[in-house]
């Protein structure tokens, strides 16, 4: 992974802003889908696809690529938008989200769109699949494998036993090549996670399963990149990055409101959101220019 320079940080922030705008436009066009999660995870997806991953957008099935396993498939608008912005497919195709015969299914389907590593949607199954992939790669290539397996999870799906089953196995197997990133935005469909099914003490739970745990601000590019670097340097256990994020990040009206978990913006709300995001984009540009 290259060094994260100030210039690169600025580029990533601008890219994340562009991706957020795409997410809003896609959801408006689709008329259904999830808003809060995709906006909240835009910085992490940007950092992954534009800085961290060893991948080839023009050759999505390149065998040596790092794998991104999206467990909480419902935030796929941000995955699709990030993939399109990084060159996997044309940006215009984003407007087909959730439509008949689109490659951009409402929840991702591996076979529809090259670059999607697994079909997901039903929560709780992703970490185990990433664990299986990491075990298989270690079987074939041992420590000499250059591949890393990034599993993106929601905190809501920590309610599911399957998640913990996968976590236990990964800890048992000392999978250094597995890095989980959990979107700790503290909301799920019915409300706040600590009301629905308390997860705290969260960090300690993962540590107890033999994971290296790093808590970060999930909107801070430096912290995201540093945490992944730290995770890669831990050689005897998997790493879980607990990314504290703001659901709906970037649009004040949507932020921290669980009501925005599972609905799209209407025309008026989308216009307002895009306007706000454009203002932020200008601020990012001018702030960095001052430096």
């Amino acid at each position: 992974m290259p060094i994260l320079t100030d210039q690169k940080t600025k580029e990533l922030k601008i890219k994340a802003n562009d991706i957020r705008q795409s997410v809003i436009e896609m959801l408006l066009e689709a008329g259904s889908g999830h808003t809060a999660g995709p906006l909240g995870m835009a910085d992490i997806f940007t950092a992954l696809y534009f800085h961290i991953l060893n991948h080839r957008p023009e050759e999505p099935l390149w065998s040596e690529r790092d794998r991104v396993i999206l467990s909480n498939g419902h935030i796929c608008p941000v995955l699709y938008a990030t993939m399109a912005h990084s060159g996997y497919f044309p940006l215009e195709e984003l407007m087909t989200l959730r439509k008949l015969h689109s490659r951009l299914q409402g929840h991702p389907h591996r076979e529809y769109l090259p670059g999607i590593e697994t079909s997901s949607g039903p929560l709780g199954s992703g970490l185990s699949q990433a664990t299986g992939m990491a075990i298989a790669d270690r079987m074939d290539n041992g420590v000499s494998s250059g591949k890393f397996f990034y599993c993106l999870l929601s905190d809501g799906e920590m309610d599911a036993g399957n998640t913990w089953e996968g976590g236990m196995l990964a800890g048992k197997e000392n999978l250094w090549n597995l890095i989980g990133i959990v979107d700790r935005n503290s909301i799920q469909i019915d409300g706040f996670t600590e009301d629905i099914m308390p997860l705290e003490p969260f960090k300690e739970k993962w540590e107890a399963w033999n994971w290296h745990v790093i808590e970060i601000d999930g909107h801070n590019m430096e912290e995201i990149v540093d945490a992944v670097n730290e995770g890669k340097s831990v050689f005897n256990k998997p790493t879980m990055i607990v990314a504290h994020t703001i659901p709906g990040k970037g649009v004040r009206e949507f932020e921290r409101k669980y009501e925005w978990h599972g609905k799209p913006p209407n025309k008026e709300e989308a216009d307002m959101a895009l306007k706000e995001l454009r203002v932020i984009r200008e601020k990012i540009e001018s702030n960095y220019d001052k430096n």
């Binding site: 697994t118 039903p122 185990s128 699949q129 075990i135 079987m139 036993g161 089953e165």
Partner: protein, 332 residues
């Protein structure tokens, strides 16, 4: 008489016919598949010995993953391994896999199109004293309904071994249904086996009046029943062994239906959604034929000796004979 082309065990009707558990055939087949192809890996949910996965695990410890009592993890880890080019076999009791982990199998294996092979042991009421919690009699229904899934229910240990080896060579998800108890060896190494093909095991001396289609360990009781019916009751029956429930051998089923007045299906499974239902789906469209379904009729199993339960559910040799005679009388 026995269909010579099926090359069945010549000692089939002897009182001291060799017996072997169908799950043992699976264990041997898995070992064989592992020796033939290093992509084959095995995962087990804390039932390594009783599913006979130990044969593979002892030979290839580096290609065996012990998952613990976590069948949802069993299916999803296997899906991930398949995504990296492995051919994973997952084994547990069929009540738990594909029972407990059905959604994971549907989404991460079948919908995701990963060629994971699911071996479910201890299927049917013949599990015996463990009781109804452990007697999977719904597994055929819940697997055959999933797109892409191949469903195989071998009749003996030899067929189970062949089915396991053949499964490793397909690029689809497969469910292999296995039984716990020792059952007689019906087939031989020379008996033809191909996924998707049914075989005539017994032909009547004259034109058959009814056809019996059987699957799994009950094929032995069915073949004994068919012989007894011809010898003692003069009822002419043609018996089809149906190891692959999906994709089903439409041609063989329709052909049989055209030769007989009615078809009796025999399976150690709920009649709702099972092998008989699969046969009925074909015949209703292709050649409507009177049918009778011998199986479990909307009940759970319970504790008892395997042979007691088989008798109680009417699946013993005598039970099959009586049902066949009643069915034939109803047809006239």
């Amino acid at each position: 008489m026995i269909n010579k082309e099926a090359k069945l065990n010549p000692h089939l009707f002897n009182d001291d016919v060799e017996e072997k558990a169908i799950r043992e055939g699976y264990g041997e087949g898995l070992l064989d598949a592992g020796e033939n192809d290093e992509r084959v890996v095995a995962l087990c949910a804390d039932l390594t010995d009783s599913t006979k996965t130990n044969l593979f695990a002892d030979k290839f410890p580096d290609r065996f993953i012990q998952i613990g009592v976590a069948e949802q993890n069993l299916a999803t880890v296997a899906s991930g391994m398949a995504a990296m080019g492995k051919i994973p076999f997952i084994t547990s009791y069929s009540m738990f896999s594909p029972g407990r982990n059905w959604e994971q199998i549907r989404t991460t294996i079948c919908y995701n199109n990963q060629p994971v092979k699911i071996a479910g042991s201890h299927a049917g009421v013949s599990v015996g004293p463990d009781g109804g919690t452990h007697q999977a009699i719904e597994d055929i229904a819940i697997t055959r309904v999933i797109p892409r899934m191949v469903v195989i229910s071998p009749c003996d240990a030899i067929e189970a071994k062949k089915a396991t080896i053949a499964s490793a060579q397909t690029n689809t998800p497969v469910y292999i249904r296995l039984a716990r108890e020792k059952t007689p060896i019906i087939t031989t190494e020379e008996t033809p086996f191909e996924i998707g093909k049914a075989q005539v095991f017994f032909e009547s001396s004259e034109k058959p009046e009814i056809g019996i289609i059987a699957t799994g360990g009950l094929v032995y009781n069915a073949i004994k029943a068919v012989k007894r019916l011809e010898e003692e009751s003069g009822l002419k029956v043609k018996l089809l062994n149906l190891p692959t429930i999906k994709p089903i051998d439409k041609e063989a089923i329709v052909l049989l239906s055209k030769e007989v007045k009615g078809i009796l299906t025999v399976e150690e499974h709920q009649v709702f959604g099972g092998m008989g239902s699969a046969v009925a789906e074909i015949l209703a469209e292709e050649n409507p034929t009177p049918m009778h379904f011998l199986g479990v009729h909307d009940k759970f199993g319970h504790s008892g000796k395997p042979e007691e339960l088989i008798e109680e559910f009417g699946m013993g040799i005598e039970g099959i004979c009586n049902t066949a005679i009643e069915f034939k009388e109803k047809l006239q």
